[in-house]
Amino acid sequence: MKKVEAIIRPEKLDPVKLSLEEAGFYGMTVNDVRGRGRQRGIILQWRVGEYRIDLLSKLKIEVVVDDDDVDKVIDAICEAAVTGKKGDGKIFVMPVDEAVRIRTREIGKKAV
């Protein structure tokens, strides 16, 4: 099993949710994070003048899926999250040794 961890723009949550749903993936965990990378920050207003912040609001979406489904998930996320401008985000795929459903103690595939 793999955990697909995607960092996306916050305003892309709804399209990504939809796109994943259409690809057959409903379960997910979402987290508010801040990130920096190529986008190199944005400029904000203060009461006078302006300032730059380099850590921008992003969302991290985690979807745990079967190894075979990883590419489908990546595709679904990329399609929905892309704007073409710097800051669209990254996807990281990581190994998961085991999954357990707390409610039933089912493990592996059946748990997610």
């Binding site: 904000l44 207003q45 009461r47 006078v48 300032y51 730059r52």
Partner: protein, 424 residues
């Protein structure tokens, strides 16, 4: 002893003729205004609290509460006599006829030397003016947020109120030498805003910059909180300015309208300047409003609504660029009491000397003396406030230390000094 104590705690005198002379309408307005003015100090705490970093929110708001509590007691014990007691040599008021803890005041009317009509209870005036004595030191919090040592803060505020605020209030309003010279200050441009704003600059120079100032930007943690603070300040300021008529009359109504109009004009001005530079900032609109409130304060009862628009627009420009200037100089007077209150108050005090046309006349109506008197008031209060505050801050810094340890500054004053987190 018990007899002595009970005498002290009993009313000195109830004037039998009170019912005859009191104007209940004026009293109602002054009492309502007093409540509004007292609300302004915690409102200021919110205004400031939204602009600091999240780890210093409780600290900042709490400091405003502590000033409110401290000076409320200081005022009835010794502040009011010093400011409004019978004049001693133009410099300070005396305890005669008021007494420590207001023991001689009773329910009597305000004396004629303070109000010509003398038709409200002196205690109503004491409550109302107490609000001014409270908010003035609270304004200085801007200078040292996020790094001051709490105990030193308390000592500073208490002494500052007694040796800076009370005398200046006396000079201008209590029958002191500036008042005799003819300087006018409707609701505190000099007494409140210059004195606090300039003192903020002085103590900021002594305490030094926040760690990281200049390299990292200190992001405001809660813009809505700051706007709410500004809104409550705006609301309370109606009491501050229109209440300063000490009557519910045409002057009060005029002060009310000029206050609102100047504030609005300054908020719009600030908005357009910040928009011109980049974007119309909400924080900027709130700051502009405060700048307008400050600048119209000394003028409110003396100018027309049309003149108040000019004063408001001027306030927007003066204070906006004063902040930019302060930043360029690399001074960490963190929340800009100097730029907004010091410079805004200065502009307002001079503008009063220019535009006065209601119950007084200014430069535009040919009264040069008024303008000179205003310049005198401005320059004296600048000098006195700066010098005394600087020395006081230095002394406290050398003895108790003004600043928290670096580690406490890192962790934030909420945790380090109050053992609290703003939000769970």
């Amino acid at each position: 002893m018990v007899i002595g104590l009970s005498m002290l705690l009993a009313l000195a005198s109830v004037h039998a003729d009170e019912a005859v002379k009191i104007n209940t309408g004026n009293t109602a307005w002054v009492l309502a205004s007093a409540a509004l003015v007292i609300l302004m100090t915690p409102a200021l705490g919110l205004f400031y609290g939204g602009m600091v970093r999240k780890k210093n929110v409780v600290s900042t708001i709490t400091m405003s509460m502590v000033v409110l509590a401290l000076i409320s007691v200081q005022w009835v014990l010794i502040g009011y006599p010093l400011a409004f007691g019978k004049d001693i040599g133009g410099l300070i008021g005396s305890f005669s006829n008021i007494g420590f803890g207001l023991t001689d005041v009773g329910l009597r009317m305000i004396p004629h030397r303070i109000s010509a009509t003398a038709d409200i209870p002196e205690l109503a005036f004491i409550a109302f003016q107490g609000g001014f004595a409270i908010i003035t030191p609270a304004l200085i919090i801007a200078a040292f947020v996020e790094r001051i040592k709490f105990s030193s803060f308390i000592v500073f505020i208490l002494i500052w109120a007694t040796i800076v605020y009370d005398p200046i209030a006396h000079w201008m309003w209590g029958g002191g030498w500036l008042q005799s010279f003819g300087a006018i200050d409707f609701a505190g441009g000099t007494v409140v805003h210059i004195s606090s704003g300039v003192s903020a600059l002085a103590i900021a120079l002594v305490i030094g910059k926040r760690k990281g100032f200049g390299s990292t930007f200190m992001e405001p943690n809660n813009v809505p909180m700051t706007i709410v603070g500004a809104v409550l300040l705006w609301f309370g300021w109606f009491g501050f300015n229109a209440g300063s008529a000490l009557a519910a009359n045409g002057i009060a109504a005029n002060a009310f309208v000029t206050t609102n109009t100047a504030t609005a004009a300054a908020a719009l001005t600030w908005m357009f300047i910040s928009w011109y530079h980049r974007k119309p900032s909400g924080l900027g609109i709130a700051s502009g409003a405060v700048a307008g409130l400050v600048a119209i304060t000394p003028a409110a009862g003396f100018v027309t609504p049309l003149a108040s628009i000019i004063i408001g627009v001027g306030a927007g420009f003066v204070c906006y660029y004063a902040i930019l200037f302060r930043e360029k100089k690399g001074i960490d007077e963190s929340l800009d009491a100097w730029a907004v209150h010091g410079m805004g108050g200065t502009w307002g005090a001079l503008a009063t000397g220019i535009f006065a046309s209601v119950g007084a006349t200014g430069l535009l109506l040919g009264n040069v003396h008024q303008f000179e008197a205003q310049i005198l008031a401005v320059s004296t209060s600048w000098t006195y406030a700066f010098v005394v505050t600087f020395i006081l801050a230095k002394i406290i810094d050398r003895t108790m230390g003004l600043r928290v340890p670096e580690e406490d500054e890192d962790v934030g004053l909420d945790l380090a000094q109050h053992g609290e987190k703003a939000y769970s």
